[in-house]
């Protein structure tokens, strides 16, 4: 398919604009003008429609088929939430309106959405206060680290370092580092959970925070999490919860109850907002009482008369981390999702997500190496170790799944598992779909023994083959 610019023909336009209706033409002094037009393409509306329709057909989404991308929680994105987000009262609302004098009354519906979402996230996670501002998970991590830095600064603590398990997602060390901390990696033990002894050896007065996800990226829940919290708090280190894996534990475990101090949630994972081919997402951050004063401004408050208002008066706040109130359109969808679910629905979500993952793991354990063979949570990590003996890598298996109409799991992550394949089925998948995946994986395992070359050639059914 040709690049859009190659289709351009001088003189075409894909949209009609109104004639100028004011009796006035203003000429900007040419010294401010560019010498040459930006060479945007020149196409008819139909050409644009065809180009992007054709591009879309070279893509694969949750609506196409099974998408068990580990750590990404590719669940169904309800269509009604798109409809809600496109309601004019939300989509056309200028974010500066509530900052006008008397402007608060202009946006009560939108402020209610953000306030109520933050309140509900507190209940789901056991935290005391939330901010909806962070615009993705990693942005939440950074915000959390900035809050932690502000806390220590305020207390006069001299903290320079953050401890992070070796299995952690790359954003964790990166966020800590960008917030100005040194990062120390803590090993995972033979059971696939944090090595407590190593943690105890590494922690010190310099330690600003420990950053964790639980279940971790191996899909395993750390039952000793209370212990970890105790160790952290002994040194006044703050315990950070990466909420990317929240889909495993709703109604079963709340980070706040286990004494985590800060956390983020990925609304585009657990709370079903569509991932958009890479974003936008939203990564609201929750904190315990002692950190609330450091949350970014603005914050939304509910007044005694039931109205909502912006409040900027938090002198210890870390300040602005987003231009406004976060990725409002995403928060709106997530709020709609939570209201659809209710407490019982969210609990069923986690129960079914965990059951689906265990079902996949148990169905495949005789065909693939399972590095930590025990009950997993919402995802399971397999390894292509056995297949590697025949020269078949995780990537070959991934590409072979593509030819069977299935999106591959996350491969080569977590880094600590050789030839890792991280399968997260999510709760919205049916047993029939899981069986389709399981059968494909079994068939591939067999081919890995009998005809490994056929797997190296995959994919053959896609618009392009393996790319450099």
């Amino acid at each position: 398919m040709s690049i859009i610019f190659q289709q351009s023909v001088a003189g075409r336009k894909g949209v009609s604009l109104p004639e100028c209706d004011v009796p006035f033409h203003h000429t900007i002094n040419s010294k401010y003008l560019r010498s040459k037009d930006p060479e945007l393409c020149e196409l008819s509306e139909l050409q644009v429609i065809r180009h992007f329709t054709a591009l879309s057909r070279k893509n694969y989404g949750v609506d196409t088929n099974f998408y068990p991308l580990g750590s990404c929680t590719m669940k169904y994105n309800p269509k009604v939430n798109e409809k809600i987000a496109s309601m004019d009262g939300f989509a056309s609302l200028h974010p500066l309106l509530p900052q006008l004098v008397r402007g608060g009354m202009l946006t009560q519906g939108a402020l209610a959405v953000v306030f109520e979402l933050e309140r509900i996230l507190c209940e789901i996670t056991g935290m005391d206060a939330f901010t909806a501002h962070p615009m993705a998970g990693a942005h939440g991590e950074l915000t959390g680290m900035m809050i932690i830095a502000a806390y220590h600064k305020d207390k006069g603590n001299l903290k320079t370092e953050v401890l992070i398990p070796d299995e952690a997602h790359g954003t964790n060390p990166s966020s800590a580092s960008i917030a100005g901390f040194q990062v120390t990696s803590i090993p995972t033990n033979e059971n696939g959970i944090l090595d407590i002894a190593a943690l105890e050896a590494a922690i010190s007065e310099k330690t600003a925070a420990i950053m964790l996800t639980n279940p971790n990226t191996l899909g395993l829940f750390n039952p000793l999490i209370q212990k970890v919290a105790d160790i952290a708090h002994k040194y006044d280190a703050q315990l950070y919860y990466d909420g990317a894996n929240l889909n495993a534990i709703m109604g079963k475990f709340r980070p706040g109850d286990a004494h985590f101090d800060v956390m983020h949630v990925n609304l585009h994972k657990t709370f079903s907002t569509p991932h958009g081919g890479g974003g936008p997402g939203a990564g609201p951050v929750g904190v315990k009482k002692h950190l609330e004063q450091f949350l970014p401004v603005s914050r939304i408050v509910k007044r005694s008369d039931g109205t909502y208002a912006l409040n900027y008066d938090f002198p210890k706040s870390i300040g602005y981390i987003a231009p406004f109130y976060g990725n409002f359109g995403i928060c709106l969808r997530a709020y709609a999702y939570i209201l659809t679910m209710g407490a019982a629905g969210l609990t069923r979500v986690s129960e079914n997500a965990v059951l689906n993952a265990n079902y996949v793991m148990h169905s495949l354990k005789d065909f693939y190496d399972v590095p930590y063979l025990k009950t997993c949570m919402h995802e399971c990590v397999l390894s292509a170790k056995k297949q590697l003996e025949n020269g078949v890598h995780a990537i070959d298996i991934a590409k072979s799944l593509i030819d069977r109409g299935i999106h591959p799991p996350t491969v080569y992550f977590p880094l600590i598992v050789k030839e890792a394949m991280m399968v997260e089925p999510t709760e919205t998948e049916s047993k029939e779909t899981l069986d389709q995946f399981i059968d494909a994986m079994k068939e591939i395992a067999l081919l890995a023994q009998n005809d490994p070359q056929s797997l190296h050639n995959a994919p053959i059914s896609t618009p392009v083959g393996r790319l450099d």
């Binding site: 009262g89 615009m135 900035m146 991932h275 974003g279 059951l355």
Partner: protein, 445 residues
């Protein structure tokens, strides 16, 4: 409704395969003592109830005021074709294109989007998007710091105060020195800027048009900055630079901006689109994802994520940035917008904005007691001085159906009587006329 497909019977079949007799058993790693202390949420709603609930909330928002509020975020017209294309579920229900063979649609679109941004800014490399214009500006500061090894940043007072506040937050703990240079009569103050430049400075940050709507040619400032080994960064309004001197033409090393004006709904502040372009030599310092063209095993062209060694999932704590999920779908919207408008259309939007804004200026200038700040040229936004507090005045105008502008006192303590008025191509002569009439009437009250 919980969108769960499996039935009780299927669940029990699956439990059998897992070798347990209840779902509870699967959660036995979670100690009883850590079970939720409470889990009280409103009861689940049906789709009809949900829709009714949000229709009521949406009606509580006054999105239908005649809007003259800008401040970096504009009420531009959005062609219907954009919504109809981005709602193709292959685009919007896909993850980041980690499997390129299944993601050529997203990848090619992002590649083309990057090309748009390069052509618009005149610079050579761009990325797959950043969160918003403010974080993009911060990422540019980080690029400058890491490129120059210096830790002082000069920020022009014409840079959006929201972004200046964001820079303050992000740098607060990083021993970076942020120096803000106030504008002079709404324009970059060359004298103060130049005297702030030194060998220890990493970069100067400018904006065009600046927050007061004023346009400028920053070439002289860039030249001076370069003479100190500094980088020069410009935050731009993409519609405006379709006709204004491009960042590259002024010599800038990095351009960033908010892409909301390119077909993305205002949506109460997000999701928006941070874009960035830079000169080629900075490509390895770029934050975020970059899509490039390559070939497959038989030489067929395709697109992939490239230069991933800069990114957090490979480099972890040594990455150029921590960004992972970005604003891909907003970038797609912007790309479709630019493709529909095209070379001529985007200039036509710019020129409609300019003409209408200047017509508004004329009309408002005629109101007794109102002063239009005219010492500097403007694009589609301009500053006026009222005989009364601008906030109060805008507050009164709400009753007449107007969001009449943004009172500058909110960010500039000495400008309580100043009002910033934005006019896009959507405002008609009639609406501009009404604005002027109503403003005059309100001032007489």
């Amino acid at each position: 409704m919980s969108y769960i497909a499996n039935t009780d019977q299927q669940r029990s079949e699956m439990l059998k395969v897992c070798g347990v007799d209840s779902i509870d058993k699967l959660f036995s790693d979670i100690p009883e003592s850590l079970r939720p202390k409470s889990f009280n949420l409103p009861e689940g709603k049906s789709e009809f109830e949900l829709t009714s609930y949000f229709e009521k909330l949406a009606k509580k928002n006054y999105s239908h005021l005649i809007n003259f509020v800008g401040g970096g975020f504009y009420d531009h017209f959005i062609p219907a074709a954009i919504d109809s294309l981005v709602s193709r579920s292959e685009f919007f229900t896909a993850y980041t294109p980690y499997q390129p063979e299944l993601s050529q649609g997203t990848l090619q679109a992002i590649y083309e989007y990057q090309t748009d941004i390069c052509r618009l800014t005149g610079l050579e490399v761009s990325n797959a998007s950043l969160y918003d214009g403010g974080t993009a500006l911060y990422e540019a500061c980080q690029m400058a710091i890491s490129t120059t090894g210096k830790r002082k940043i000069i920020v022009d007072g014409g840079v959006n105060p929201i972004y200046r506040k964001m820079l303050r937050s992000y740098t607060a703990n990083l021993s970076i020195e942020l120096v803000e240079i106030p504008v002079f009569h709404g324009q970059s103050n060359r004298d103060s800027l130049f005297s702030s430049f030194d060998e220890k400075t990493a970069a100067v940050i400018l904006q065009n048009p600046n927050f007061f709507g004023v346009i400028d040619d920053h070439s002289d400032i860039v030249q001076k900055a370069h003479s100190f080994g500094m980088l020069a960064v410009q935050s731009v309004y993409p519609i405006a630079i379709s006709i204004l001197k491009s960042p590259a033409e002024q010599g800038f090393d990095i351009a960033t901006g908010e892409g909301q004006s390119l077909g993305i709904p205002l949506s109460f502040g997000g999701p928006y689109l941070g874009f960035m372009a830079a000169s080629k030599k900075l490509s390895r310092k770029m934050p975020g994802r970059i899509v490039a063209r390559t070939v497959d095993t038989v030489g067929k062209e395709g697109f992939v994520l490239s230069l991933q060694a800069r990114e957090q999932h490979i480099r972890r704590e040594k990455a150029t940035s921590n960004i992972c999920s970005n604003e891909a779908l907003c970038a797609l919207r912007a790309h479709i917008y630019m493709s529909l408008l095209g070379r001529e259309g985007i200039k036509q939007v710019a020129s409609l904005c300019v003409d209408k804004a200047h017509y508004a200026k004329e009309r408002i200038k005629a109101i007794p007691g109102v002063k239009v700040m005219e010492s500097s040229p403007t694009f589609n936004e301009f500053t006026i001085k009222l005989p009364v507090d601008a906030g109060e005045c805008v507050g009164k105008m709400i009753d007449y159906g107007f969001a009449a502008g943004f009172p500058l006192g909110r960010y500039y303590p000495d400008m309580d009587n100043y009002l910033l008025i934005a006019v896009t191509e959507k405002r008609t002569k009639y609406e501009i006329g009404l604005l002027a009439e109503t403003l005059e009437a309100v001032l007489c009250q």
